[in-house]
Symmetry: C2
Subunit: 334 residues, 2 copies
């Protein structure tokens, strides 16, 4: 038993990270209603993640790892025997990072936390209020994942020791995140209010976190789950918007659209930044995605809770992009 | 403005920690009902903490720093003008650590997380379930403190990088906690499930966390807020139980009761450990308190939400123990 246990530990330690998933704020919350989770989407996302992570040893019976009370919910007491008769499921190493959506943005923009200045009472108050809001969302996502049997562990970038200097990443401590992964857990990070050596404080977006994690962990692929099908050549609300299927990123970080072949001379993609989004919208997303792809890590941008996200999370897009698949693949070309 | 800001930052950096407060699980939760907070006690504790921390610049108007929705609660939108017209209140450096009470204990004891062994599905599940439960409580306490205008920041020991080896403290990283304090925040830690280098995992109690924080931070005093008046010579349920007022701790860690003078030859204090308490009850508390006092830091054990806790939190007991005060003082004698 002891030996078996040691063997399992040893084999775990060197297992690389298969996938880093971003749960976009717009996909898992109702963006126009303060602090409201999109329960249907979140449930579907968690179920798809379960399938993707545990593909090798998926049992029919989902054993919830959330044994806490839920408002108006049913009995949460676990049946001990269910666990003792179960083998530890083989589980690919995933890391989850989520955005804020309708959590945190209100508090951050009202107080200007991203601009810094903790000597101002409003900014200091906003820092506390923002962290309360984003950690509330984090807890709900950790619980939703745990109810699908995923061994999720909430980890705030602030507490993990992540900080910035003049809004650029200053310290991104991966020690505890790596230890959690090596112990068989799925770390769940989030966009957070952090300390900034030059400005006192700022907002660290989930996209920037993903970019740093990907650079250090070199996962097989990164998936962005959003509320639209992928990246378009103009705002998706425009009826003439065309979904970009493949974007190629070169060594110098420049990128161009491979398919579809766009009409006209310009291959530039129009990007819009939503006014309420304190951390930059699609602009940040594409440039961060290009930075990730530049390091040889495939990036898939796809609509959450669809058959397309199932395909993306499975990793099958590395070999072949099926005809019917809808989404955007961003990858490195030499 | 910029200069003023820098000056404030500089002066903050060297300010020592005035007090570390333990919010006992039994004092802030209803210990016999799963995951139920003792709202009245928690409100009173937070209000007393506000008075103790901001004694120098207490304004009548409490500005809540919790701008999140509450179930069935009223509007949470802050009035920006209230903050911009306010000076940053002078605030003594406090650190808050809370126990689990009816949060976490059920999940931990059902699964045996404290005994380790993450290769067992039940233990791994219990680790996730325990962290969900204790971080839920942490969030509620951070919010309750923030509603009293205290700039509270939730920090999980697990995420901060605290871990054990064979249940003894292995790594207690104070970097982010110190940075948070120097930025004017009040870190709120909690008893947590952590990784253990020898056992895979275990439970790190709030009392052990306090002991390590006190040894490194050397606060002026430590206050344990509990659900009884202090330490008794036998279980407090015994009608003949006598409240111990002063316990002296010597260089070698041994301790004896100074007042009241106990009848009989034995000065030994009977201690009981509640069966449901996975981290050890009064036994752990006294020995941890003695370890803290041995380093010259006064320890006050007092009933939460009473006039006695107001006195203890004010720090006045350092000079004089008033006649009518009820509680236990544990201090170093040469």
């Amino acid at each position: 038993m002891e030996l078996e246990h040691n063997r399992q530990q040893a084999s775990k330690t060197n297992k690389p990270v298969r996938c880093i998933v971003k749960l976009g704020g717009a996909a898992i919350t109702c963006k126009n209603e303060l602090e409201k989770i999109n329960e249907d989407n979140l449930l579907s996302v968690c179920s798809q993640l379960r399938t993707a992570m545990m593909s090798g040893s998926l049992s029919d019976k989902v054993l919830s790892l959330d044994w806490s009370k839920r408002p108006g919910g049913s009995d949460t007491a676990p049946v001990v025997e269910d666990f003792t008769s179960q083998l530890v499921p083989e589980c690919d190493n995933f890391v989850v990072v989520h955005g804020a959506g309708s959590f945190g943005h209100f508090q951050a923009s009202k107080s200007g936390v991203h601009k810094g200045g903790l000597s101002q009472p409003l900014v200091k108050a906003g820092f506390v209020a923002t962290r309360i809001s984003v950690t509330s969302l984090n807890l709900e996502i950790v619980r939703a994942l745990a109810r699908e049997g995923i061994p999720s562990i909430g980890m705030s970038p602030f507490s993990c020791g992540w900080s910035t200097c003049d809004r650029k990443m200053d310290s991104a401590d991966l020690t505890m995140i790596t230890k959690a992964i090596n112990s068989g857990f799925v770390p769940v990070l989030h966009g957070d209010a952090v300390l900034d050596a030059s400005l006192d404080c700022t907002i660290l977006s989930g996209d920037v976190i993903i970019s740093h994690l990907a650079a250090r962990m070199k996962p097989e692929f990164v998936v962005f789950l959003t509320d639209v099908l992928g990246v378009y050549d103009r705002p998706p609300s425009d009826p003439n918007a065309v979904l970009l299927r493949e974007i190629a990123v070169r060594e110098d970080g420049s990128w161009s659209v491979m398919t579809p072949v766009l009409q006209g001379t310009s291959k530039e993609v129009e990007i819009t930044v939503a006014a309420h989004d304190t951390t930059g919208g699609m602009a940040t997303k594409i440039s961060e995605a290009a930075m990730i792809a530049r390091q040889g890590v495939d990036v898939y941008i796809v609509k959450a809770a669809t058959s397309h996200s199932v395909t993306a999370l499975s990793g099958r897009l590395k070999d072949d992009i099926p005809e019917g698949w809808r989404g955007t693949v961003i990858r490195f070309v030499r």
